[in-house]
Structures are given as C-alpha cells and as structure tokens.
C-alpha cells in the first residue's frame, strides 16, 4: 500500500476513533472515552509520520503543516493534561475542538507543497513545531475558558495554557527569525504574516500582564483568552485556506 494511502486512511480512522470517543464522552463512559481517544491519537500519529515520507523523501514540513498537525498537538496536550490532572470528564471535553479541526483537515487537500530551497533547514520545521504547539495551547486555553465561563470553576487552569502557549510562541518567533535571516537576510519582514504574528504576540503579552491588574478577575481573563484565540484563528489558521490552491504533490 502506498504511504499516501496509509496516511489518508489513518487520518480517517483517527477521526472515527475520536468520534467514538466523543459519543462515549456524551454517554459519560469514561473508560471507553479514554480508550477511543488513545486509539485516535495512535492512528493520527501514524498518519502524520507517513505524511512526512509519502512523496518519496522525508519532508518534515509536511508532518508539521498546520491544518494536520494542529489537531495532533491538541490531542497530545490533552493526553499530557490527563497525566497531570484527574478531571477526566472536563479534560476529554477537548475531543470537541479536536474533532472540529480534524474535520477541516479531512476536507483539506492532502498533497504536499513541494519543498523549496529556502525551507531546507532545520529551523523551518522547528518553527512550525513551536508555532503549531503554541496555537494548540491557545486553542485549549480558549476551550477551557468556555468551560470556565460555563460554570466549571475547576477549568481555571486555562491560564497555564495561555502562559505556555505564549512561551512556545515566543520560541517560534526566535527560531522563525533565524530562519528568516538565513533565507531572506532579515530577522523581520514587512509582510502580512510577520505583522500578524507580532500582533498576536502583543495581544498575548497584554494577557500576561493581566495578573497584575486587580480589576481583571478570572472571568474577564477567560473572555480575553477567547478573544485572543479568535485573533489566532483569523490571522494564522485562516491563512491555511489561502494555501489550498498551491500546487501540491501526491495525496
């Protein structure tokens, strides 16, 4: 079986498993939710790895393409959270955003953008790893903010997700700046992408300062985290739709 078929099939199987996990979650069958979730994560991991090889050479950027990598990161962080906290029902509610983003991935072209000479450096995949991981943290922060606003006071840990997301996003900016310097001779470009990244960074930097403002309670912070993720969705995630028409290989 060609690797592209393995990758796409595993993506569908992952979606199916997460779907079962969601059904079990709504029926409050915690053990089943967990088993299906882990199954989905396993299929998704296979799908991502095989995606990196399916044009015949290893292309790490294909593994870390945002549309496909974001739901994987969300699932990975959910599993990490499961090992840290014991609030199973609250934690596995994250299967809802995972499914939403996976559905977008299923509709998205599965081919791979051919690697240009300016992306063939370790800084390029590293940038995407940190950026998408940061987006996943922001997404989970927004999700648990909704839970918090929906009278789940034990979801106050959304604040930690914002902080970790901000740190990862900052690392992504440093790594991205080095990549940009090597490829385009500048740490910062006056381009839509760079300005929007700076806008997101400043917005989350403002959030980080909220802890020093007594007028902002957790409820207001939850609303702020939601607004910040709306910015991420609009600026970063929607940019993937513009890449849908790019020439792609395989898939």
């Amino acid at each position: 079986m060609p690797l592209s078929t393995v990758s796409v099939t595993c993506l569908y199987l992952a979606t199916g498993s997460y779907m079962w996990s969601f059904v079990s979650f709504t029926l409050r069958r915690e053990r089943m939710t967990e088993i299906c979730f882990f199954g989905g994560f396993l299929f998704h991991t296979i799908s991502q790895i095989s995606r990196g090889c399916f044009i015949g050479i290893f292309t790490p950027n294909a593994i870390f393409e945002g549309v496909f990598f974001l739901p994987w990161c969300l699932a990975f962080l959910t599993i990490c959270l499961r090992f840290i906290k014991n609030k199973t029902h609250l934690i596995y509610s994250a299967v809802i955003p995972i499914l939403l983003f996976l559905l977008v991935a299923l509709l998205y072209p599965k081919g791979i953008v051919p690697p240009s000479p300016q992306v063939q450096t370790v800084f390029s995949p590293l940038f995407f790893v940190f950026e998408v991981l940061a987006h996943a943290c922001f997404c989970l922060a927004a999700w648990f903010s909704i839970c918090y606003l929906y009278h789940r006071k034990d979801a106050a840990f959304f604040d930690s997700f914002v902080i970790w997301g901000f740190i990862l996003y900052s690392i992504a900016q440093v790594v991205g700046a080095i990549w940009c310097y090597l490829g385009w001779a500048s740490l910062f470009n006056w381009s839509e992408r760079h300005l929007q990244s700076a806008s997101i960074w400043c917005f989350y930097a403002a959030y980080i300062h909220l802890r020093f403002l007594s007028s902002f309670d957790m409820k207001k912070k939850a609303w702020f985290s939601l607004a910040a993720f709306a910015l991420v969705l609009f600026f970063s995630y929607l940019s993937h739709f513009r890449e849908m028409n790019m020439p792609r290989l395989g898939g």
Partner: protein, 253 residues
Amino acid sequence: MLQRIWKFCGSVNVTFYLLLLVSFNLAIASFYVKFYPQIFRPLNNFLLQDWFNLYGQNNPDKIWWLWTMFGLLLALGFNTGICTLDRIRNLLVKRHNVDMRVFLLKITPSLIHMCFLIMLSGHLISMISGFNKRIPVSSELETPSPIQAQILDQHCDYFKSPELLKGHLDQCTLSFKLHTGGEEVVKQLSFLNPFTYQGFSFHLSRDKKAREEGLQIIIKRDPGLKFILFGFTFLVLLMLWYFPKLQKNTKGG
C-alpha cells in the same frame, strides 16, 4: 505631581492598554501591507528614511499607521523602562531582607523587560542604519564600496528523484571572487548559507515572480541584528525559567 506622572507613566495599567493598541495597530498594518504591496514591499529593501523619500512621502494616507506604531512603541518603551527602573530600585532597597532565590525570582520580570527594550532598540537600529541592497545575479555586481565582486560560476541543481519531485529546484550555488584593495578571496553562496565579508553579509534569495530561478543577492549590514537576537533569546530563556518557577511557588502556597 511629578511623582504621580512618573508613577502613571510606569504603571502596568498603561502597559496593558499600550500592548493592546500596538496589537491592533499591527493588525491594521498587516492589511495595508497586504493591499498595497507596491508601497510596502520595498520597505524590506531600503532603510526607513530612504524608503520614506522614495515611497512613503507620496502616500501619506496609506502610511499613517507607521507613525502611530512608532508613537505607540516609543510610549511602550518609555513605560517599560520606567516600570523596570522603579521595580529594580525597590527590589534593591529590600535586597538584604529577602532570600537570594526569592530576589532572583522577583527581579526576573524586570530582566525580561530589559531584554524586550534591547530587542525593540535592535529593530529601530536595523530600520534606520546599516546597508541593505538586493541585486539580481549578473556578471557585473553592484557591491558596496570598496568591495568589488565578480561571479565565477553559477549552477542550480534540480531534484532527479523521487519521481514526484523531478524537475523541482533543489539548490543553487554561486562562486564569487571578492576583492577589496589588495585582498582577494573566493566565496561560495547558496540558499540558506550566507557568508560574511568585511562586515557585510551576503545572502542568496530569489524573486518568486521571475520565470526561471530569479536569483538575487542580498547584501546587508545590520547593526541591530545582534541586539534583536540577544534580546529575544534571553527574553525567552528567562520566561522559561520564570513562569514554571512562579507556578510551582503558587501551587506550593
């Protein structure tokens, strides 16, 4: 009165709203850059003052956000500076009453702010000083005086395998002869492998709109580069130390 003004200028409240305003300003800027590329793309190839003379001054209605951005960043810089000075002064006064580890934890946000200021200054230096030139590859290269350059060899490799990638550009390499006065050196330049000569860095790039490879050489001297890299890297490292420590302390009560 002066003390109240000083306190207001360095308050976290002001920081918060300034950061929000900078964020919105950058968001607006991204749309201007997107819809007027003919005005703003050259900003990457010129120093700010040169760009302003050539493009900016003829389009005042499209570059207003640049002035508001400079104003806001300047205000943010002052606010951060005042806040940092105040905090460090207060911490140093109480230095002997607190444990070294607690002192380090408390002073870290100020160090993060200092890194931010260094990074911000680096961006300003990069924009207004140094040298920035983008030239298409040809046998006669216009290089900054007193450097003279001549291309000895130029070749591009294309993927031969796997089947799906056949014909796609893999890498291009240029061989240069550079001479300044009596000194003469041969250097190789390829994508993602810049070199430095006489304080100038040489990068290989390409014009995506060109029909063939569209190879371009970017010659740059960027005095702000080290400030930006140093500031941002240490800012991240300090955050990586500070926030987990803070969370651990909060959990521990």
